[in-house]
């Protein structure tokens, strides 16, 4: 099962890596003459956060439906081989859990990889921060992103393959904009810890938003499970 999910997602992972890497590279170039290092760090983090926010969207998959390695082209809502998968003696729960777990691991891998790249190639951002805080940063971002991952999973189980990415992208952006219009309390805002609110800036661990993110992620997973179990093919 793991092997299958990996084969399905490996090109997506590559894409996610490239996507985020290009983000970083884009800002590394003109960023040389930006102000103080602390400002610079903030900017870099914001850009990274922007990139990381969308990683779950790419990696969350299509529920338990078989994915095309690069799902854009699939116009038929249901790939025939999904029926084959469902005829195997595996519960739908397990199918979804394996897919979700692998996606999460890939997401964390992308975050770690990119963070390392940034750390290596933009020495300016290292100023005033220690490796411990970078680790915390990775952890924080991962946890918060997993909240978004859980949400995307729901979309992935409900929405037609070709529409998952645009749909989730829009949803995530809308949620992000909520913080400006509504009065989202600081403890619930899971976007902030990925940028301004991250341990690298505040030098503290944002427990509350992380807990919220975990809760949201778990809820997303459970809802997706229920949906998948009741679906018909």
């Amino acid at each position: 099962m793991w092997m299958k999910s990996w084969l399905e997602t490996r090109s997506r992972v590559t894409f996610a890596l490239l996507w985020t890497a290009s983000f970083v590279l884009l800002m590394a170039a003109p960023g040389r003459d930006m102000g103080k290092s602390s400002d610079k760090l903030g900017i870099v983090l914001s850009m990274l956060a922007l990139a990381f926010v969308f990683v779950p969207v790419w990696l969350a998959g299509s529920g338990i439906r078989t994915q095309q390695p690069f799902g854009f082209g699939s116009s038929k809502g249901l790939h025939g081989s999904t029926l084959f998968t469902l005829s195997l003696p595996v519960s739908r729960t397990r199918l979804l859990l394996v897919r979700a777990a692998l996606g999460l691991l890939e997401m964390v891998a992308v975050i770690v990889a990119l963070t390392c790249v940034v750390w290596l190639f933009l020495p300016a951002v290292r100023v005033g921060t220690g490796p411990g805080e970078w680790l915390l940063y990775v952890l924080t971002v991962s946890v918060c992103a997993s909240g978004l991952y859980g949400l995307t999973m729901i979309a992935a189980t409900l929405v037609d393959d070709a529409w998952i990415v645009p749909f989730s992208t829009v949803a995530i952006i809308l949620l992000w904009m909520l913080q400006f219009f509504g009065s989202v309390p600081a403890w619930a805002n899971i976007y902030r810890p990925m940028a301004q609110g991250s341990p690298l800036v505040t030098h503290s661990v944002p427990w509350a938003p992380m807990a919220v993110a975990l809760a949201v992620g778990a809820a997303g997973l459970l809802i997706s499970l229920r949906i998948v179990q009741r679906q018909e093919y």
């Binding site: 092997m3 299958k4 084969l7 399905e8 078989t66 095309q68 390695p69 790939h79 025939g80 081989s81 029926l83 084959f84 469902l86 005829s87 195997l88 003696p89 595996v90 519960s91 739908r92 729960t93 179990q229 018909e232 093919y233």
Partner: protein, 308 residues
């Protein structure tokens, strides 16, 4: 002298698949309207029907891919329940889908290696044999295989599991006659050697007639004919009646007469049972001379499915 024992179970209660009153609608369209099925253990069971009659819906319901609106369905005596119950049942079943699609990013060898660990009773000997007999190239990516090859691959994956029951949705579809004959041979060999129950749907009446010992003809979501093929063939008969004078225009036919066709002084009667009584009745008509013909499965199909 040692007795030859009838393959498979003759006990009607020993049914591998059993449905009662199965109903399913999609968006207001009734696909199944109370389907009753009984598939005896060890039989080769042919499931015939026009397009849209409900064959694939039935098979999907049996595989737990969709949930019937009402009615009972059991495989191996177990109800096809929710998620977990289905897993144990599926460990004993081999399935071939209608469109024979497999993972596009895998090769032949990969998909076999992927499928194998799910089935503790996997038969390596069958895998070796059919890999060779079907001439499947292990390193070839699946989308590059022809339709016939993909069908064979799916069949291999279904057979090698050491399953007690095979559920095949149109296994011979799109296959050229030579390969189709190979497949039929494989199925009969499997049934004989392993006692596997084989449930398959098909459009090809000839294929079903050749290897099935039981059939069910489904029309508009209901089973219109079902039973052992030999029994059906002895029950149904066609009578041609030639009259030496003008035949009576309206006759109150006895039970068992399904269809009567007139043409001048000739009559064609299709009877589903009670044939002796029908023959008696015909012979009592003035000037009648009767000839009896056995019916083929195709005739039974056409007569039973046509006029609804």
């Amino acid at each position: 002298m040692p007795e030859v024992s009838q393959r498979g179970s003759s006990d009607p209660r020993d049914c591998v698949i059993e449905t009662a009153g199965l109903r399913k609608s999609f968006r207001g369209l009734e696909a199944l309207r109370g389907l009753d099925l009984r598939v005896p253990s060890g039989s080769i069971y042919g499931f015939l029907g026009k397009n849209g009659a409900g064959k694939t819906t039935t098979i999907k319901a049996l595989m737990g891919l969709l949930r019937p609106d009402s009615g009972d369905a059991r495989i191996f005596g177990q109800p096809i329940g929710g998620d977990a119950a289905g897993v144990e049942i599926r460990r004993r079943i081999g399935f071939v889908t209608e469109d024979k699609e497999l993972y596009p990013y895998m090769t032949v060898a990969q998909v076999i290696r992927f499928t194998r660990p799910f089935f503790p009773r996997w038969r390596d000997d069958l895998e070796r044999r059919y890999l060779q007999a079907f001439e499947l190239p292990p390193k070839q990516k699946i989308p590059k295989l022809s339709k016939g090859m993909r069908s064979k691959l799916m069949l291999l994956l279904a057979i090698c599991r050491g399953a007690e029951l095979l559920i095949l949705d149109e296994p011979m579809e799109g296959l050229d006659p030579a390969i189709a004959e190979d497949v039929l041979g494989v199925l009969t060999g499997l049934a004989a050697a392993e006692g596997t129950t084989i449930f398959f749907s098909s459009h090809q009446i000839a294929d079903v007639e050749q290897i099935a010992d039981h059939v069910c003809i489904i029309d508009q979501g209901r089973a219109v004919v079902a039973g052992a093929l030999d029994d059906l063939k002895s029950q149904y008969q066609r009578l041609h009646v030639m009259f030496s004078e003008t035949p009576p225009q309206s006759v109150a036919w006895v039970d068992g007469v399904e269809r009567v066709r007139h043409d001048g002084r000739m009559l064609s009667i299709f009877a589903s049972r009670n044939v002796e009584a029908v023959v008696d009745q015909v012979q009592s008509l003035p000037g009648a001379s009767v000839e009896r013909f056995p019916v083929t499965l195709k005739e039974i199909f056409l007569e039973c499915v046509r006029s609804h």
